[in-house]
Symmetry: C2
Subunit: 238 residues, 2 copies
Amino acid sequence: MTDFTPHYHRIEQALRALVARSAPHDPLPSEPELAREHGVSRMTARAAVTNLVSAGLAYRSPGRGTFVAVPAAPRRADNLVRFSDEMRRQGRTPSSRIVDAAVRPATAAETARLRLGSGASVVAISRVRLADGVPVAAEWAVFPGALAALLDADLVNGSLHAAVTALGRVPTRGTATLTAAAATRADARLLSLPAGAPLLVERRLILDEGEVPLELTESRYAGSRYHLDVAFGVSSFL
Amino acid sequence: MTDFTPHYHRIEQALRALVARSAPHDPLPSEPELAREHGVSRMTARAAVTNLVSAGLAYRSPGRGTFVAVPAAPRRADNLVRFSDEMRRQGRTPSSRIVDAAVRPATAAETARLRLGSGASVVAISRVRLADGVPVAAEWAVFPGALAALLDADLVNGSLHAAVTALGRVPTRGTATLTAAAATRADARLLSLPAGAPLLVERRLILDEGEVPLELTESRYAGSRYHLDVAFGVSSFL
DNA sequence: CCAGTCTAGTTGTCTATACAGCTTCTTGGG
DNA sequence: CCCAAGAAGCTGTATAGACAACTAGACTGG
């Protein structure tokens, strides 16, 4: 069995594994070392390291060498981090309560957004997300009907995204809209809030590896109980 | 005057200018063409193109050539884009109204967040941001007192960030917190909304190139008139 | 007109080599 | 022990060249 993977790619993978078991600022093998070790030219080894540096996993210091980079700052908006991880990051204990989980006919909007065929069905799961036992968010997640097996997953203690991935669909990227709205009667009931209380509303569409729509979700967070931490760069627009 | 700029960097800058005046999928010069045109080796030209591809401005197609990339999806949370640009992106006409602009003593919180000396002053600028003549956001921006010259800038028609940069401080990166809150009486007046209406609230701290705090701003957007478009990746957390 | 082949051109991967400037370590002399 | 110089090693930039695989267009023959 001949391995057709380019040399620089194999070296990059080995370096990524090394970074994963190292601490920030640990030295990585030098380019000449990597070249000797892997039997390639220095320029080939250098290409592998350049990819690592571009990916933010390492940094180079002229004359000194290459080192493991400091992990990026909080990038909630850059990566969709699970509600439970976000709560833990804020020092809070996350939990969930399932309100409803069923297969039903897709609405017209869902059909369009999830690019379903007409007359298709969806898996609709609504949950309340809690932090320290207090309701923080009400969430309506909709998946294509083909993922009906989600209903068999442990939706309370397990990860919904893990369940989706186990069915062969890997959430890869998404777009979202954030705004503020007043709590409806339904929100108020789910979140134990007065109707009209301010909610941070997120509507997101998640695509899988093949750019196929995978999940359409609206999350409505109690403004008084939840905030989103974001880090960003500033464009040079001058 | 000798130019010490590396060849690949000069070629990259020329390509960036070309991308800026091109449409998505327009062909860019091939590597051999660039090499001939700039009198460098093909590998040097290739390094310039590789940087462009890494930056998402171009894509390569084996056998066919290199092309201008489709502009990235909305990345509001990834880059601090000016309110006016964001409004234009949403097809709306932005404008601003200055409510107040003055130097005043810093509060304790401002002193801590902007890392000022005790007894220091700040430049406080409050504005209403409008889209199509309708108030969309109320904004309170605070800068270190050393930037008092901001008060001399054109705050209505000019860019506040351009003014800051002209004073030698380049906004580089920041962190923000997003949540929802009910409009106060002051908000209501500024935004022509009922008190209690839901607002999307953003509090951000912006640092300059030297990681020195530069701007502390709270923006309060009318939920019914503004939304934030975000694109993100999904972490592999399984 | 259509299909197949050839040519010219592209990107992708790689080698070997060279020099510049920087950093760190070692050695020798005071 | 301290300092300076040199050596060894690093990253940064660049060259010239090679071959593989792919694409698009032109040309030729049926």
